[in-house]
């Protein structure tokens, strides 16, 4: 499965035993490039797990209903729906192929029987509706059972079509396509707590969208310098606050997090809060900046804390304290002595994600 680093693993590392509950996919050594999973996301209830791959496909797994006779065994996840979300595109202006790889998937909170998710590649975000169909109508007047149209003049009596059960069919259909708003590569999307808007972030800009409106978006952060040669920092991740729909954060390649309030100004170039841990002078090296680059930022469900992932560690920040994190967990400290080789083979630029468990533990 995808390389998601389990974050925030409790105070005493010895208390938890982690193991794989289920492994999906081919155990084969030869994995096709297109099958490589690029993003994973549970929905709010945890019943659905969506995965996106390099080939632009989304596969959704659904948890089976828990067996009442075995209340302690977790439900197994089985394939629920598969669809092609993005196709490779060719940008004629730049003679460049836009990859179909899915960078991020985010679920919308469920409001009716259907499920909605946003999926994005480097340039385009799509809203997908996944709905179930387990009934079909029979007894149409104008159509035969095999779909052939009947001659209206030959119909002598009318009947009311009746609904009959059928095998469950899960359909995915694209409902909105949000395109042409990002010059650079989209790295994050985040649904707002108002359930009407969402943000999308690329390397230098963050845009605010309304889920109903696809032909324009509102730019809320722009860190592009007047001259590109002055560029020293890029946006790496962004997320809305879980409860305050005017607050969001974005992280940077320099290891800083900025919290912005959309009420303060239309263009949130000036942050309300700035989170940065001062550099430890004893461990400073050429690679200090690269390993401090934050690859993911997530708010806790309570909204009081946020978690950030950089190359070697996971940090938990209290939103009320900007000068240092409240907790730091070294994930693979043994790599610190190998930074040189990791730099040479580019592994030092790998990005990891993090997430909270349901109870923020």
């Amino acid at each position: 499965m995808a390389g998601v680093a389990g974050g925030g693993g409790g105070g005493g590392g010895n208390d938890f035993q982690w193991c794989f509950s289920q492994v999906k996919g081919a155990i084969d050594e030869d994995v096709a490039e297109a099958d490589i999973i690029s993003t994973v996301e549970f929905n709010y209830s945890g019943d659905l797990l969506a995965t996106g791959d390099k080939g632009g496909r989304v596969v959704i797994f659904q948890r089976e209903q828990e067996n009442k006779s075995r209340p302690h065994s977790r439900g197994e996840y089985n394939v629920y729906s598969t669809f092609q979300s993005h196709e490779p595109e060719f940008d004629y202006l730049k003679s460049l192929e836009i990859e179909e790889k899915i960078n991020k998937i985010r679920w919308l909170p469920q409001q009716n029987a259907a499920h909605f998710l946003l999926s994005t590649n480097d340039k385009t975000i799509k809203l997908w509706k996944i709905s179930e169909r387990d009934k079909r109508a029979e007894g149409y007047n104008l159509k035969d059972e095999d779909g052939r149209l009947r001659d209206p003049f030959r119909i002598t009596s009318l009947r009311v079509p009746i609904l009959k059960p059928m095998d469950l069919m899960v359909e995915a259909s694209p409902r909105r396509i949000f395109a042409n708003a990002h010059t650079y590569h989209i790295n994050s999307i985040s649904v707002n707590s108002d359930h009407e808007t969402y943000l999308s972030a690329d390397d230098l800009r963050i845009n605010l969208w309304h889920l109903e409106i696809t032909d324009r978006s509102f730019n809320i952060v722009d860190i592009k310098p007047a001259n590109m040669e002055e560029l020293t920092e890029v946006i790496t991740a962004a997320e809305f606050h879980p409860h305050h729909c005017n607050v969001f954060v974005y992280s940077s390649s320099k290891g800083t997090i900025r919290l912005c309030d959309m009420r303060s100004s239309a263009l949130c170039d000036r942050h309300s809060k700035f989170f940065e841990e001062p550099e430890d002078p004893s461990s400073r090296s050429f690679f200090s900046e690269i390993i401090s680059s934050i690859s993911d930022v997530k708010f806790s469900h309570s909204g009081r804390y946020m978690m950030t992932r950089d190359y070697l560690s996971v940090k938990v920040w209290d939103l009320n304290m900007e000068n240092r994190p409240v907790e730091t967990y070294q994930v693979h400290e043994y790599l610190r002595s190998k930074l040189c080789s990791l730099y040479e083979n580019d592994c030092i630029f790998d990005k990891f994600e993090c997430c909270w468990n349901g109870s923020d533990r």
């Binding site: 004629y92 202006l93 730049k94 003679s95 460049l96 192929e97 836009i98 990859e99 480097d122 042409n180 708003a181 010059t183 650079y184 590569h185 390397d203 230098l204 001259n227 590109m228 040669e229 002055e230 560029l231 020293t232 920092e233 890029v234 790496t236 390649s253 002078p281 004893s282 461990s283 400073r284 090296s285 050429f286 690679f287 900046e289 690269i290 680059s293 043994y334 610190r336 002595s337 190998k338 930074l339 040189c340 080789s341 990791l342 730099y343 040479e344 083979n345 580019d346 592994c347 630029f349």
Partner: protein, 286 residues
Amino acid sequence: MLPGGWLWGKWVLLLLPGAVSLAPWSRTCLKLSGSDSPCAKPMLAKGVKRPRGEMEGGDPEPRDPGAAPASSLFNISMVKLHQSLRHVEPNLRHLVLVANTLRRMQDQMQREARGPDSPEAPSVVDSPAPVSDSRDSGLEPCRQPPSDSQGDDLLLSTMDTSISTILEDLGQVEVLSPARPEEEQPLAGASGARQEPARTSAPCLGPLELLSSASYLLEDGLEDIFEDIDTSMYDCDLWSPTSLSGFKAFSGAEDSDSKALAGAEDRLDMSDLDYLMDVLVGGHAL
């Protein structure tokens, strides 16, 4: 985003086979991929997991087999930077991180070149004593031993050649996009001052100028780009201002002669046009 259709002509040229040799940044159909490293040593190829046994075997390596002196690290970084820039849409995060790392290296090298008696800033530069211990304590082994003046000269000359390469690339880019005069002076100054070790880091920022004019470009001075295009096929009598009076030429490359002609024969052509219109309208009425 960018204006659409009328830029087609330029890009069709570039897509033709012969045009690939235009310039380093010319558009070839590159599939975007993660950063490639030509210097990936077999010991740690990207994505290959080392078996767990190897990880735990013995003591933590006192000497990182991949450790390199600062000069070769600098070269590796330069290679990475160039590779990144060669993409049509470079991975900005990678680019920025490599460029910043390069700046750090450059700063340190300059500080060391200036000599140990210059006022020392933070602890990036080791004093001689801890260097011998660095391996044991697991500190970054990639620092250059400070007492190597010959190495310094070599280093600085390597730096010079690398930076001049960047300047070359920049020069080629300027052919295709209008040169901004205010930028050329600092560059000229830098190349003139090549002998001085104490130099600002401005030349090293050169690669990022490629960004501004190369990939995300087409923002200013568009007309100059099209000067090389042969528009003779469009110079048809039907379309020249002589036959369509009052019609504005759609390309700035029109020569001034035809414009002068248009002015003079304006009045004559007006009546021709009127006649044409009458014929058309009259025909319709029937």
